[in-house]
């Protein structure tokens, strides 16, 4: 029992010493520490840019996808009962999210507001030439085509269209953009991991005699690795500070200039809060983890007996 307690006290002391040594070592090997921090900073800024682009592209494509609808026109001589039947038949289709009815009278009123010519023309006609319609939204853009085909079969439906051809092109373009940006983020994270790990490897290479001595005087592998892991953590965290600041300030400026401007109303950016907060946390976590694992990986090479 006493032996176990002593071992725990020793382990705690080794942990305490490791943290102290990691701080000391950062300053003792100052130029190499600066190199690691700069490397982390630069790559994490790239990661931050990639995250901002990816999230916003996804946001824009999602909001554009929401705008894609099926416009259904009923036959000219359709009765109120048939209108109700059409609406309930559309609603029965599982993938339909929302159905909005617009009567031909509503259309007429709306069109009359567009221009005086239209108003005069429509008023002079004996009958309303417009058709009753439904605007149908589906849960997923992939369901647009099959749903349209299904709706066309419903009795009393004159036509159903969703912009065939063009919509497919837009969707496939969105998918390519999404995949490319996500791929870019993943690739950048991997590159960051390698760059940081290699910089730390250089630091450790210059300190291999220290590791050698530690091994020879009886340090356990874990107590050799710990100070380096803490050091990697420290460098990773310090290296992610500037990217975090750049993300917060940069995104607020970008949002003010692009996202909220009426000139670019088509580009609607994700609101800065809490987006920048989460992105900063992600950068901090990537910096810390990559620093820790990079160090652990690099030092392992010198621990093989």
């Amino acid at each position: 029992m006493r032996k176990e307690v002593l071992e725990q006290v020793k382990a705690f002391r080794i942990l305490k010493n490791s943290i102290r040594d990691s701080f000391k070592s950062v300053f003792r090997n100052f130029s190499l520490s600066i190199a690691s921090v700069l490397c982390t900073t630069i790559t994490l800024i790239l990661v931050a840019i990639a995250i901002v682009v990816t999230v916003n592209v996804n946001y824009v494509t999602k909001s554009m996808e929401k705008e894609l609808t099926i416009v259904v026109y009923a036959n000219r001589d359709v009765t109120d009962e048939q209108i109700n039947n059409i609406e309930s038949s559309i609603k029965k289709i599982g993938v339909v999210d929302n159905v909005e009815f617009k009567s031909k009278e509503e259309w007429k009123l709306e069109m009359k507001q567009y221009s005086e010519t239209l108003e005069v023309t429509l008023d002079n006609l004996d009958t309303n030439p417009l058709l009753d319609s439904f605007v149908v939204k589906v849960k997923d853009v992939k369901d647009l085509a099959p749903t349209t085909r299904e709706i066309r079969k419903i009795d009393g439906v004159e036509s159903a269209d969703y912009g065939e051809g063009m919509v497919e092109e837009i969707i496939s373009a969105f998918n390519i953009i999404k995949t490319a940006t996500i791929g870019m983020v993943i690739a950048l994270i991997i590159v960051t991991a390698f760059l940081i790990s290699n910089t730390i490897k250089l630091t450790i290479f210059s300190r291999r005699s220290e590791i050698d001595i530690m091994r020879l005087v009886g340090s356990s592998n874990i107590s050799i690795r710990l100070p380096f892991v803490f050091e990697g953590f420290l460098l990773g965290v310090v290296g992610s500070f500037i990217p975090m600041i750049v993300t917060v300030y940069g995104y607020f400026i970008l949002y003010e200039k692009l996202g909220s401007s009426a000139t670019f109303s088509i580009v609607e950016l994700v609101k800065p809060f809490p987006f920048v907060f989460y992105t900063s946390i992600i950068l901090l976590v990537i910096g810390a983890l990559v620093g820790m694992f990079g160090s652990a990986r690099a030092v392992r090479k010198y621990l093989k007996i």
């Binding site: 020793k10 382990a11 002391r13 080794i14 010493n17 003792r28 005699s209 220290e210 050698d212 001595i213 530690m214 091994r215 020879l216 005087v217 009886g218 340090s219 356990s220 592998n221 107590s223 050799i224 093989k304 007996i305």
Partner: protein, 241 residues
């Protein structure tokens, strides 16, 4: 009267030990020897005779390919990589190239060995000062290695090796980088440690003058084989290796 014989466990037992490197070179072949507690043993032989391999097998930097290397009852060859540190805490190792940390003072270099094993600061200080006193460097505790002579640096290395009161001190050509007078001083330090502290010392060396002067047990290795084993004082000036 007892009918059977009493088997006395030797401090170091090496039995039919072989070491064949990956490139096919046989560094040690069928080596069998015993060393008692408190002995001072020299290992001599030409370059490539297997001295360093034998030394490295003792502190488990190398594993024997075949045979047994036993140290204080521990089969060193069977130790797992992650438990080797436990063995090394019981040993002191001195190298030809000192292996001191240039950015640490003399005191810190010696204390480093104890910090690494998680010893309390209050326990470290008296032990370090005692070890430095043994090697005659108590007045240089604040100096850095580059401010010391070669002999002084080696004495720091010895102090670091004995600071944890090891049962065995392994020295791999500790005088290899030193002149004759300084080598003599280092040997006096090692002799005192052996006599006063009772530490078993195994020292690989090329320096026959030292071996002849010290009059201790001498193991001669030749192409990985133990060619001669001279008892204490029996190695003569006239004998060739």
């Amino acid at each position: 009267m007892l009918g059977g014989s009493i088997v006395v466990m030797k401090f170091i037992q090496i039995k039919n030990c072989y070491k064949v490197y990956k490139n096919g070179v046989t560094a040690v072949a069928d080596l069998t020897l015993n060393i008692d507690k408190g002995e001072f043993v020299f290992v001599i032989g030409a370059s490539g005779s297997g001295k360093s391999t034998l030394i490295k097998m003792l502190y488990r930097e190398e594993k024997p390919t075949r045979g047994v290397v036993q140290l204080g009852g521990i089969n060193v060859g069977k130790l797992r990589n992650r438990t080797v540190y436990k063995l090394r805490r019981k040993l002191g190792i001195v190298f030809q190239d000192f292996k001191l940390l240039p950015k640490l003072t003399v005191y810190e270099n010696v204390a480093f060995a104890l910090e690494c094993i998680g010893m309390k600061n209050s326990e470290i200080r008296p032990k370090v000062l005692k070890a430095l006193e043994h090697v005659g460097l108590k007045d240089k505790i604040r100096s850095f290695p580059n401010e010391l002579s070669g002999g002084e640096q080696q004495r720091v290395c010895i102090a670091r090796a004995i600071v944890n009161d090891p049962k065995l001190l392994i020295c791999d050509e500790p005088t290899g980088n030193l002149d004759a007078n300084t080598s003599k001083e280092i040997m006096e330090v090692l002799d005192t440690i052996n006599k006063n502290l009772g530490t078993t010392i195994i020292m690989a060396t090329h320096d026959l003058d030292i071996v002849k002067r010290m009059k201790r047990r001498v193991l001669v290795l030749d192409s990985g084989l133990l060619s001669k084993d001279y008892e204490k004082g029996s190695f003569r000036t006239s004998e060739s290796v």
